[in-house]
Amino acid sequence: MASEDKLVAEVEALKESFAETADKIIKDIKRHSKIMERSDKRQRLEYDELQKKLKEVETLQEEITATQREVVFTMGAIGESRSKETGNHVKRVAEYSKLLALYYGLSQEEAEMLKQASPMHDIGKVAIPDAVLNKPGRFDAQERELMNTHSKLGYDMLCHSQRPLLKCAATVAYEHHEKWDGSGYPRGLKEDEIHIYGRITALADVFDALGSDRCYKEAWEDQKIFDLFIQERGKHFDPKLIDIFFRHLDEFLVIREELKDS
């Protein structure tokens, strides 16, 4: 009898302990699912928030890029308007530059950057006196010297920026009058010493300038321009770029036609 009581007491104790354990397990299971449920909800909120913020950052980035593009383009237009050149000159130079850059083998991004930066190549002209800038006819030696400072002036205006686009524009402003054979200005750089941005813009700018009426001259006939280019291949211009120009001449002429001055 006594052993029976003992056994019952033991089983009772087991029952109690089992019930306690079962309660604990149930509590844990409920807790666990609650934790997961809350965690899922939190994760969803966080992800939504993240998406929202990302969208904001993207919009902001687009805004910044667009603003930069506009500022750069406007600065270029200011430079051009000072010298009474037509508004479409900078647009055409931009497009020619991009096309040359792509065929030269620069990446899409770099070609696009050059396109956006090239309108600023003459920004230094804002610091040149009107009397010289708009003088009909040829410059005398002193005026020519003054005129030639626009490259360095443009570079000085742009060189302080760390933005890739403005750094590119600074290079273009500085080097677009350098010549392949070293006879250009302001530094007399030659061949690969001239940054590819400078070599490209030099060709694009000259092609457009020769084909347009200016206060001091009438537009050249195409054949005369082409003859000059052949003659200046490896002298004024990077021979590789001249080759690209003639190989894809039709595309350059399409740009000129689409952006012609009204």
């Binding site: 807790r31 609650k34 934790i35 997961m36 809350r38 965690s39 909800k41």
Partner: protein, 124 residues
């Protein structure tokens, strides 16, 4: 036994376990290995409760961000408090920013699960 002070990191809160009975956790909690991180904390508390049976304990938790295993850890932490609440005064504050919905809900869950701890929800 000494007070324990763990400095905050990018993933873990600042934790101060003071011998005077003040327990403070402030910051974010999403460690790479939550249970490993909190192990010294839980061990310190177990030892402390073993040595101090009747003093007043004040707990201030201000966790602004936490992962699910931290959430589980806090349940374990409150379990430990619950087991050691008898014979002493216990003040537990769950502090959160009004706009932090997750922290608020977590606080409400703890209040519900640990009625005997009388957890106070304190908005900043």
């Amino acid at each position: 036994m000494e007070s324990l002070h763990i400095k905050a990191t990018q993933y873990t809160p600042e934790i101060i376990l003071d011998l005077n009975g003040t327990i403070t956790m402030t910051g974010k909690s999403y460690p790479e290995n939550t249970f490993e991180f909190y192990k010294p904390v839980m061990e310190w508390l177990e030892e402390y409760f073993e040595e101090n049976k009747s003093n007043t304990i004040t707990v201030n938790l201000e966790i602004i961000y936490f992962n699910s295993s931290s959430s589980k850890l806090f349940f374990d932490f409150f379990d430990l408090l619950d087991e050691n609440r008898k014979g002493r005064e216990l003040i537990v504050n769950w502090i959160y920013d009004e706009e932090n919905e997750s922290a608020e809900e977590a606080g409400e869950d703890f209040v519900e699960d640990f009625a005997d701890l009388h957890i106070q929800l304190v908005t900043k």
